[in-house]
């Protein structure tokens, strides 16, 4: 090799270049990696959730929805609130299998097109979205417009004292199979569930 002493395999110049580059790389990584990790940290931190009491069982009927405001993010006022539409399960229309978490049906008001708040219009027995004309039927199934899947739901349970409580949100496909909560606009039928994988930061129902 030119510019080397006898028996040298790496020249001093090349060695110094490598050392300088590595030192620079280490120094740059020393501030980029922690900063990056800090920025994407929230993607991996799963918030614990609390069951929120929303009223005694006698508040709810099979015939119509009752509106309940629940706090999904603490400390930011109204921006942290969300709305649930709650009714009693009606075996005549609710064909999905019954278990301990759906004696009461609680629909999220979040439109499954892009997330605007839907409103239950009792005269039409439908949920209507103000943004782009999404319409859902009484069970929250898509009846028209751009939404890609039925309205999300909340787990519900009834305490021994006869109080209805709301748990975490979950998403459903058009057959009302449950999925961990997805954002609006992400279909869950067919390949949808693979195109839009579950995330690491959504509240889940603790295994009981």
């Amino acid at each position: 090799m030119p510019g080397t002493f006898d028996g040298e395999t790496v020249t001093r110049r090349r060695f110094m270049t490598a050392v300088t580059h590595s030192a620079g790389g280490v120094a740059a990584m020393a501030f980029t990696l922690p900063a990056l990790g800090f920025a994407i940290g929230p993607l991996f931190s799963r918030e614990p959730f609390d069951w929120q009491p929303i009223g005694p069982t006698s508040d709810f009927t099979e015939q119509t929805y009752v509106t309940r405001v629940l706090t999904i993010v603490q400390g930011i006022g109204e921006a942290g609130n969300s709305i649930a539409y709650v009714r009693k399960r009606d075996p005549a229309i609710d064909t999905e299998p019954e278990d301990q978490y759906n004696h009461f049906v609680a629909l999220s008001s979040r439109c499954m097109h892009l997330g605007c708040p839907v409103r239950f219009v009792s005269a039409a027995q439908r949920f209507i979205c103000p943004c782009h004309g999404g319409v859902y039927d009484f069970r929250g199934m898509v009846a028209g417009g751009p939404p890609v899947r039925p309205l999300d739901r909340f787990y519900t349970r009834v305490t021994s004292a006869g109080m209805v409580e709301l748990g975490p949100r979950y998403s459903v496909n058009s057959e009302l199979h449950r999925f961990s909560p997805r954002d609006p606009g992400q279909p869950l039928d067919g390949v949808g569930q693979y195109l839009y994988p579950k995330r690491f930061d959504t509240s889940i129902l603790p295994q009981s």
Partner: protein, 268 residues
């Protein structure tokens, strides 16, 4: 138009050329020093930096025949960006990224109470739309003049990144007033990002800092809007301008290359 001859001045009033050190001992008189102060400072800096060469390189270039007003659209976009930068810095002195109501209140204060606040906010708000319009007009000019062709592809690619960053400025800035429109538009916008397959859900989580619109979503948007993207845009405008100066501005497509008559004769 012929110039009228100046009336003859009496000898005593005629300006005479200055001679340095007129008082005899060769020293510069204070009056002279004061008169030349500006030049002295510029000279002092230039002697140490050679900046004047760079400025001449950037500003006193040759441009091709036939360039027209459409060539000013890029500079117009840059001035729109500078307007956003300046007004934005001063808005930041009053703005509070507090999702519990402080953000809305601080914007209300800027608009209703602060001296000239309404004007500066309006300049920023309308300037944002102006910048978007200008950047598209500039891009259209470059496209229709074929100015993106060799060797200017990289200028175009940097331009595309600038366009995306500018749109991202619009998206992140829209949330800051934190009224109903801001909030729901951001919900919708973040969910549109979420519809990208595979990475969409994680991109939404990144933008919101979690699965739901949360306490730090607003400050995250604010930091991206006022620090991250403006820094990138400023740096990329620098690269864009470097390439424009380096390559020279392109001639309009209807200007034909001029043949050298001498060359033609010698070829016959």
């Amino acid at each position: 138009m012929p110039k009228l001859p100046a009336p003859p001045l009496p000898k005593s009033l005629q300006p005479r050329p200055k001679r340095p050190g007129e008082n005899g001992n060769g020293a510069v008189r204070p009056v002279e020093a004061a008169q030349e102060a500006g030049i002295t400072v510029v000279d002092w800096i230039d002697e140490r930096t050679s900046l004047s060469g760079g400025i001449r390189w950037l500003l006193f270039r040759k441009v091709p025949k036939g360039i027209n007003w459409f060539y000013t659209l890029g500079s117009a976009t840059m001035f729109a960006f500078l307007n956003q930068a300046v007004t934005g810095v001063f808005l930041a002195m009053f703005y509070r990224p507090d999702a519990a109501g402080g953000a809305y209140e601080s914007v209300r204060y800027i608009t209703d109470d602060a001296f000239l606040g309404q004007l500066v906010r309006a300049m920023h708000k309308w300037g944002a739309s102006v910048m978007i319009i200008l950047i598209f007009l500039h891009m259209a000019r470059v496209f229709f003049f074929g100015a993106y062709k060799y060797p200017r592809e990289l200028t175009w690619i940097i331009g595309v990144v600038l366009l995306i960053l500018t749109l991202a400025m619009g998206f992140t800035g829209y949330l800051l007033p934190f009224d109903q429109r801001s909030y729901w538009a951001t919900i919708v916008g973040v969910n549109i990002n979420g519809t990208g397959p595979f990475i969409g859900p994680y991109l939404s989580d990144f933008l919101r800092a979690g699965p739901e619109f949360g306490a730090t979503t607003l400050s995250r948007f604010y930091a991206i809007h006022m620090m991250l993207i403006p820094g990138l845009i400023a740096a990329l405008i620098g690269a864009h301008l470097y390439l424009i100066t380096k390559l020279g501005i392109s001639a309009p497509p209807w200007i034909k290359a001029q043949e050298d008559p001498g060359l033609r004769e010698s070829q016959v």
